[in-house]
């Protein structure tokens, strides 16, 4: 059963009934799900969780879902001790949470699984999103599983190849003749006009909750403890804030010791409004025009930017941005050391981790978890120049000559 009791404004604390609603009517700040933690604490313990299914739904008591989940088999992804990468970076206790290994190849399956389940509970027969990649694929796949209609809106200048990962699930794919901002504005209006479950708009509070399972899993996989340091990418900032919320909840419920995790938010330099705010010391995240190859985290006006900023500050963590060149280098380093082909957002995380470890901000002996949130093959065009095969004729002599080897 769910212990969710209300939607609560993150700014002014006003409460609203659990429904498809994402903004406080008074101060126009985001709403989040609040829970009856007292009852939850009585019902929940490590043993009960461990007996649950090997998926994010073993934590269903900590989520806001009342019915059977729309589940593609998401999560319980590996937490790998990254010794090779750790050696390169000078970190003795480095772990990689490899969320590439979800059904649609990104962590988005976690929040979308919760959001589509809630959409069905609220009586929607249609879900929608605006996305050029990971979110689109996940929404289309979950809608297929739930026998719901899905609308996916994309700017018309997106390369068709990027949409294959969504199109295969047969959503209604709509290209919008306009800029990224035009799509944002259009979708805002669509939410008001149509009775759709818009995944990251009117279902956003529930969508957000799914990302908490990243934290639950990591804590359980570490033997019920929080990491010393978390390094994670941020687009809207939502998953970053929910990783923190997840750890905080586990401590509140007595499932782990009090949390003293330093949260490091990472962005590509071409789209780094949260990092900019952290570095300039302001409280306001000023929007930017994104310009980076790390498209999956290129959000110029991050809805949860302020909250991500506050968590990075209050946890004694930090913020780090990396150039596109460093992103590519990070992607290669992760692949060459740990055998993980992840998307550009992972290059951001690894590039930032390299800087943070190199400058001594993250210390050698600190247990550090780097969150890898999406797989590489969907955006492999950014790496096309790494394919430089050695050409040989089909005879041994040619192979030995070109490779400089002999028996």
């Amino acid at each position: 059963m769910s212990y969710a009791r209300a939607l609560r404004c993150r700014k002014c604390g006003r409460e609203y009934p659990l429904g498809p609603l994402s903004l406080c009517d008074f101060c126009l700040s985001p709403l989040e799900v609040s829970y009856d933690y007292q009852s939850m604490a009585k019902a929940l313990n490590r043993e009960k969780i461990a007996k649950g299914p090997p998926s994010m739904w073993r934590y269903s008591d900590l989520l806001s879902v009342e019915s059977e989940a729309v589940d593609l088999g998401t999560s319980f992804t590996p937490l790998i001790k990254a010794d090779n990468l750790g050696r390169e970076l000078g970190l003795d206790q480095l772990y990689i949470k490899n969320d590439c290994l979800n059904p649609t190849y990104s962590f988005k399956d976690r929040p979308v699984s919760v959001a589509v389940t809630k959409a069905r509970e609220f009586g929607f027969d249609t879900v929608a999103c605006a996305s050029t990649g990971n979110l689109a694929a996940s929404v289309a796949a979950h809608a297929a599983k739930a026998n719901m209609k899905a609308y996916v809106f994309v700017p018309s200048n997106v390369e068709p190849g990027k949409l294959v990962g969504a199109a295969i699930y047969n959503p209604v794919l709509v290209t919008v003749d306009g800029s990224y901002d035009d799509v944002n504005r259009l979708c805002n209006k669509l939410v008001e006009r149509y009775n759709w479950g818009f995944i990251n708009v009117n279902l956003r509070p529930y969508y957000a909750e799914g990302s908490k399972t990243l934290a639950y899993e990591v804590a359980e996989q570490l033997g019920w403890r929080a990491p010393d340091c978390v390094v994670s990418p941020a687009a809207s900032g939502l998953s970053f804030t929910r990783i923190w919320k997840g750890l905080d909840e586990l401590a509140m419920l007595g499932l782990i010791e009090p949390v003293n995790t330093h949260m490091y938010v990472t962005q590509a330099a071409g789209s780094s409004p949260i990092v900019n705010a952290f570095q300039t010391g302001t409280l306001h995240v000023h929007p930017v025009e994104p310009n980076t190859i790390a498209k999956s985290i290129a959000i110029g006006n991050p809805a949860d930017g302020y909250y991500a900023l506050m968590i990075a500050r209050q946890s004694g963590g930090g913020a780090c941005a990396v150039t596109d060149e460093e992103v590519i280098a990070g992607m290669k380093l992760l692949a060459e050391t740990e055998g993980i082909f992840a998307e550009a957002a992972a290059g951001v995380v690894i590039g930032a981790l390299k800087k943070l470890a190199g400058s001594g901000v993250i210390k050698r002996n600190e247990l550090t978890v780097a969150f890898i949130t999406g797989a590489g093959p969907r955006t492999q065009e950014i790496l096309s120049d790494i394919v430089q095969p050695l050409a040989v004729r089909p005879v041994i002599e040619s192979v030995e000559e070109v490779l400089g080897i002999s028996a």
Partner: protein, 80 residues
């Protein structure tokens, strides 16, 4: 009548101009401020605009032309 919830981000040179007042006067848009933070060098205001759809659109276009950034209050919807 339509409603739109937006965030205005002001550059330093416009901090002293009564642009929100002018928006209301010139475009018959009712402006209802919910949150704001203004300092001497920059500022932002989260507010609800109410009026005819066309007036709101024209008002937003005018604000943008003056160098004020106008964003949906819910942040960017398009995700990767």
């Amino acid at each position: 009548m339509a409603k739109r919830q937006v965030m205005f981000t002001f550059p330093q040179e416009l901090i002293k101009e009564p642009v929100i007042y002018n928006l209301g006067q010139q475009f018959k848009v009712v402006t209802n401020i919910r949150r704001a933070d203004i300092s001497e060098d920059r500022g932002w205001v989260v507010l609800e605009l109410e009026g005819e759809e066309n007036d709101i659109e024209q008002g937003i276009a005018w604000m943008t032309s003056k160098g004020i950034r106008v964003d949906p209050v819910i942040g960017d919807i398009v995700e990767g």
